[in-house]
């Protein structure tokens, strides 16, 4: 699992939070339980102290206070019940102290001396060895005539300790269970919450890779994810509008340039034919006309790209044999290769059929082949291969020419991109050939890729959807 993922972090937070709450709650109940156990023990002991005080009062009234010890033992049997009773006077004289309990949990004689409380009643915890403690409560019996007795009762706090330990063990046993529930519940919750996000991400990816015309499906759930999809849709819309604007701009600009170019070309040609006939003049006019032609080529190229990108290529779709088209085109261009003593080979399995605008796809072959010949030095070789692969029709144009530096390879399909300005300008290119190739391939639901080793050559690979072969006469022009 990716530890950076939102899912992982959310589950982690969720589990930690839940465990934290559990432990806090455990600690709070522990404290509450202890307080309640101690206070109930204290209540019991105070009641016992009052009872003993009452007994003492009765015994004094009948002037038999010396018998109070045996009376207490007879009624409450502190040694059997693990209890402690002590009666003392203000001057420290002990009237009675209970014998050591049978359980031997504490020795009453080792307990600290009587401590008179501020008011009539009090309680204190007396620590013993071994971390144990005895809760001692005291009650002051004030008799008329100024005589006062202190009745102390006590009980070991072992019972409280045992109860608390049980509770602690229970909490400890529950902890892993709560942990498992926290992790499992967190996983399920987060997964359910994030599933639409995954869906939105994959739809958005599909839309941006294909065309900006698509929109994300918006689930009317009223939650944040609906807002997210709507916001993303707005963004895609604006992007789409921006792209359309730029396409329209290119189309309009190239359109507006045509008329002035027509006038320039017409007037300059007229001048070449009828103007002063000095070679110098004609040369200058010719140079101007060459530039008009180059401008015209750029305008045509831009216009073609904008139209292809707007999806207007689908005028004349036919099925035809790509291999046949490639070999016919290579044949028409063979002299270009021959002229540079380049060995041009063309291999193709006949019967690799594609569907599309034949003239446009021919332009793909022409542009790629022209490029390969242009950038391969004399004596090199250019190979065209057509084959079928994984339901695709593939055309590869491989040369052993000068190649393209790796860092600019992704840019070769950009408009007006030149690997080396001086080199290609001298060749007269408008810098649009490969952009046109890419636009045509995209318009045909295909793609084009370039790979190259500098100094050893380049490989351009065109992939188009393959269609089943039909009668050959349908495809040939």
């Amino acid at each position: 699992m990716n530890t950076q993922s939102l899912k992982f972090r959310l589950i982690g937070w969720y589990a930690c939070l839940l465990l934290g709450c559990f432990m806090l709650l455990g600690a709070a109940t522990y404290v509450a339980l202890r307080t309640s156990l101690v206070s109930s023990l204290k209540e019991n002991q105070l009641r016992r102290a009052r009872q003993v005080a009452q007994l003492l009062r009765e015994e004094i009234a009948s002037h038999s206070e010396n018998r109070v010890g045996s009376e207490v033992e007879a009624r409450y049997a502190p040694d059997v019940n693990d209890r402690f009773v002590r009666i003392s006077q203000r001057d420290g004289v002990l009237l009675y102290i209970s014998p050591p309990p049978k359980s031997q949990t504490f020795d009453p004689t080792t307990l600290p001396p009587p401590k008179w409380p501020q008011s009539t009643e009090g309680a204190r915890e007396v620590p013993l060895l071994g971390g144990r403690a005895v809760l001692v409560t005291s009650h002051v019996l004030q008799l008329p005539g100024g005589v006062a007795y202190l009745v102390e009762t006590g009980a070991p706090m072992d019972e409280v300790r045992t109860e608390l330990r049980k509770w602690f063990i229970f909490l400890g046993a529950m902890l892993p269970l709560v942990g498992v529930i926290a992790l499992g519940g967190g996983y399920v919750l987060v997964k359910r919450a994030l599933a639409p996000v995954d869906q939105i991400a994959s739809s958005a990816e599909r839309i941006s890779s294909q065309n900006l015309g698509g929109r994300l499906p918006v689930a009317r759930t009223g939650d944040e994810l609906e807002r997210l999809s709507i916001a993303l849709n707005h963004m895609i819309e604006r992007l789409d509008a921006a792209f359309q604007y730029s396409r329209r701009f290119v189309a309009d600009a190239s359109h507006e340039l045509r008329t002035p170019l027509t006038v320039l070309k017409g007037e300059l040609e007229d001048f070449v034919h009828k103007g002063p006939q000095s070679p110098d003049w004609r040369d200058r006019l010719g140079s101007a006309l060459e530039e008009v032609d180059r401008l015209t080529n750029i305008v045509e190229g831009l216009f073609a790209i904008s139209r292809l990108d707007a999806g207007e290529a689908a005028a004349e779709w036919v099925k035809f044999d790509l291999a046949q088209l490639v070999s016919a085109t290579a044949d028409q261009m063979s002299l270009l290769a021959e002229d540079k003593k380049i060995k041009l080979t063309c291999q193709g399995n006949v019967g690799v059929w594609v569907e599309g605008d034949r003239a446009r796809l021919k332009q793909v072959v022409v542009n790629l082949l022209d490029n390969a010949i242009k950038y391969t030095p004399e004596g090199g070789s250019v190979a065209l291969t057509v084959f079928a692969q994984n339901g695709k029709a593939v055309l590869e144009v491989v040369d052993n020419g000068i190649g393209i530096p790796t860092q600019v390879l992704p840019k070769v399909f950009e408009r007006f991109f030149r690997v080396d300005t001086a080199r290609s300008r001298e060749q007269g290119g408008a810098g649009l050939g490969l952009s046109i190739v890419k636009s045509i391939c995209t318009a045909h639901h295909g793609k084009v890729e370039a790979s190259s080793t500098l100094g050893q050559g380049s490989r351009f690979r065109v992939e188009l959807p393959r269609v089943p072969a039909t009668a050959p006469q349908l495809g040939t022009k």
Binding site: D293, L335, V366, L432
Partner: protein, 226 residues
């Protein structure tokens, strides 16, 4: 031959009209759709050269009305747009040919003549330019009686030049005629083929027949002096 040119861009209209008049055509000019329609509907023209983007009345609409009225004048459409869909729409409206701006005047002239059924050099089986002889039936080429072997493309190029002898043909025209529109923008293919053609047709002989007019194109004939 009487021609009507409907074009709102005055400068384009002027050089086209000037060129056509030099070729001894009678040319009427209209600078907007409405006056174009007035002229086209009242005068029987042999050919109407029609720009599509017109003020007043769109070219396509003018064309449709013209055909509805039963006018049979050939119509050559000039346009700054070359979308295939628009092309089809205009052919359906009754256009006979189509020319995209910017064009070379020579190209316009070739199309005008074709529409007026005045083929430049005729369809004669044998074309002669100076001492060059092209037999269209056997596709054999001789110069000064000497047989010249040409490849199919070289023959196509030479035949096209010879059929328009004395006229300068632009690279675009040559590409479209001898190759096809897929090679547009790839004008160096013309230069390479012309060079090869020259090495066979011109180099072994004392006079040059294939001439380069820089920035414009190529022509075939003996009178050129460059």
């Amino acid at each position: 031959m009487r021609l009507l040119l409907v074009e709102d861009e005055k400068k384009v209209a002027d050089f086209v009209a000037r060129g056509l008049r030099a070729e001894r055509f009678a040319v009427d000019l209209a600078y907007d759709g409405v006056s174009g329609w007035d002229l086209a509907s009242t005068v029987d023209y042999d050919l109407v050269i029609l720009d599509l983007m017109l003020p007043g009345l769109a070219g396509t609409e003018l064309l449709r009305r013209l055909r509805q009225k039963g006018k049979t004048a050939a119509v050559l459409v000039l346009t700054a747009r070359d979308g295939t869909a628009e092309k089809v729409a205009n052919f359906e409206a009754g256009a006979d040919d189509y020319l995209t701006k910017p064009f070379a005047f020579a190209e316009l002239l070739v199309r005008v003549k074709a529409l007026l059924r005045r083929p430049p050099a005729g369809r004669a089986p044998v074309v002669r330019v100076a001492d060059l002889e092209i037999d269209r039936l056997t596709q054999q080429v001789r110069r000064g009686g000497k047989r010249i072997e040409l490849t199919a493309k070289e023959y196509g190029l030479l035949e096209y030049l010879a059929a328009n002898a004395g006229r300068v043909l632009s690279r675009t025209m040559i590409v479209e005629h001898v190759w096809d529109e897929s090679f547009e923008g790839l004008t160096n293919i013309v230069d390479v083929y012309v060079r090869h053609l020259r090495s066979k047709v011109d180099d072994p002989f004392s006079t040059q027949l294939i001439h380069t007019v820089r920035g414009v194109g190529y022509s075939l004939g003996e009178e050129q002096d460059s």
